[in-house]
């Protein structure tokens, strides 16, 4: 998945922009994400339903994936079934 690609959740309102990505399947709410929205919404999986937050960046443990949430939703993000976590950014003082 190329950086800059926007992906939509099949199970909720979540949309992300890909910042970094590899060969795995990016999922939200337990279902694969795609550039378009499927006609029939996928069922939100209970294990992946903690929700996404606007403007947060989600990463995997190896630093291979980074997704920016540009629209929040009820599902949570994963790659090949492994949940992504919020990237902790150290806040900087406003410099401009």
């Amino acid at each position: 998945m190329k950086p800059g690609t926007r992906l939509k959740s099949a199970a909720c309102d979540t949309e992300v922009m890909v910042i970094r990505s590899a060969e795995g399947t990016i999922e939200c709410g337990g279902a694969p994400m795609g550039e378009g929205k499927p006609a029939d919404a996928a069922l939100l999986a209970a294990d992946f339903s903690t929700g996404t937050l606007m403007g947060k960046r989600y990463v995997d443990a190896d630093g291979k994936y980074e997704l920016l949430c540009v629209k929040p939703g009820k599902g949570s993000l994963a790659v090949d079934g492994v949940a992504l976590v919020v990237k902790d950014a150290k806040p900087l003082p406003a410099s401009d």
Binding site: K2, G4, M54, V70, L92, P93, S95, D96
Partner: protein
Amino acid sequence: MNIALLLEMAADAAPDRIALVCEGKRWTYGELLAAARGAFELIRQSDAQYVALLDESSEAAVIAVFGAALAGVPYCPLNYRLPDADLAALLVRIAPALVIGDEERITRIAGEQGHTVLAREDFALKAQETVPTGDAREYDPGADETGGGVAIQLFTSGTTAAPKAAILRHANLLGYILGTVEFGSAEETDAALVVVPPYHIAGISALLSSIYALRTIVMLPAFSPEGWLELVRKERVSNAFVVPTMLSRIIEAMERAGSSEVSSLRAIAYGGGKMPLEVIRKALDLFPQAGFTNAYGLTETSSTVALLGPEDHRAALASDDPAVRARLTSLGKPIPTVEIEIRGENGEVLPAGEPGEIYVRGEQVSGEYKEKSALDAEGWFPTRDAGYMDEHGYLFLSGRADDVIVRGGENMSPGEIEDVLLTHPAIADACACAIPSVEWGETVGIALVLRDGHAAPAEPDIKDLVRARLRSSRVPEKIVFLGELPYNEMGKLLRRKVKDLLAD
């Protein structure tokens, strides 16, 4: 990848929150996004290759930067202070453009260049009235997913040759904002006072950062210290960025006024030139509630690459350790998303404490001009700024690499000589630069400005002062006294002008 994403997210999350206050008019994030989409249509209809702004800061600057981004053409704000002939020479390099601003002047100096010209008010009004068709998502240029398109083109000031066109790609600017600003992190009452002109990188990054943080932008189109203080009071401004000359004039105005209502200010950032120690010390006293941040960055690096934060300022002021106190004059440490190295003449990386040229690398670093890229094979950008890093990682600037004085093969930084000169009670301002020398190739010349009510110190006394504090090679051979040193409107000392004066 497109910087328009920043405004789209802000408008999605808080459509009715106040995004911008300019000359009494208030704009919400939703209104700004709608106007940017209208501007996109206007730009498309005009077949412009660029969107240029020849104007002071206003809502038009915000609408134009995002409208151009949506339309996939570079936004090119121009310096309206340039003489007609210089401006016409820049305008022809971006023809055909949609030029926003002084209609009469643009038509007069560049009427034959094929531009579409709109006055500020017309542009803002038409952008609001033009209702785009279709789904907003179509406005994100899908063909440019990697962010390789040019978002901003800024002409350098070009003191020696024709101005260079520095370009910043969407990926550079997004890298900067996403890496340094937390989305929606501002309180609803936060407001940032923007007074830097729109053609300066700090003026652009201020808009992008504030919008992504959901911090209201309060614009002051033309700086005056009284106007600045009045807006701080009236709009309860919490954040501000100033250049050193502005801060110094604000302090003078506060001292004249006796009292000023500035308690809302929590963060004051400064940059764009060397901050005199005396000014920052006074400022720390006059704004006890505010945290001060010194930001160092360049056009080619999408703004800030190093900063000295509020805690460092306070620690430096309170410390007895000269090394810690000296940090008040440092640029601070590199921000986490960039790398900084100091390199010698042969490109070798220098150890702590050794002066050389500052190199920067990171996603936000474009290091690129329309003509060619200045990046090396590993992506490092040579800033042409000279400086060193101390053993704790604090970066110190000594001046432009081109300003270094080379006397008989010995490199000397003007800054260290100036710092010594400024310790003299009669000297208010000082500039050291290279003057031609038959014996040494170059040697030191200095221009001094006297403090009001002080007599000029004798030349031998000045020479003794430098000799006592530095090596004898730093002792000036030529000394002139001036009424004031030449600065540009951003507070940058025009060393070349002083050099010319001293060479005569």
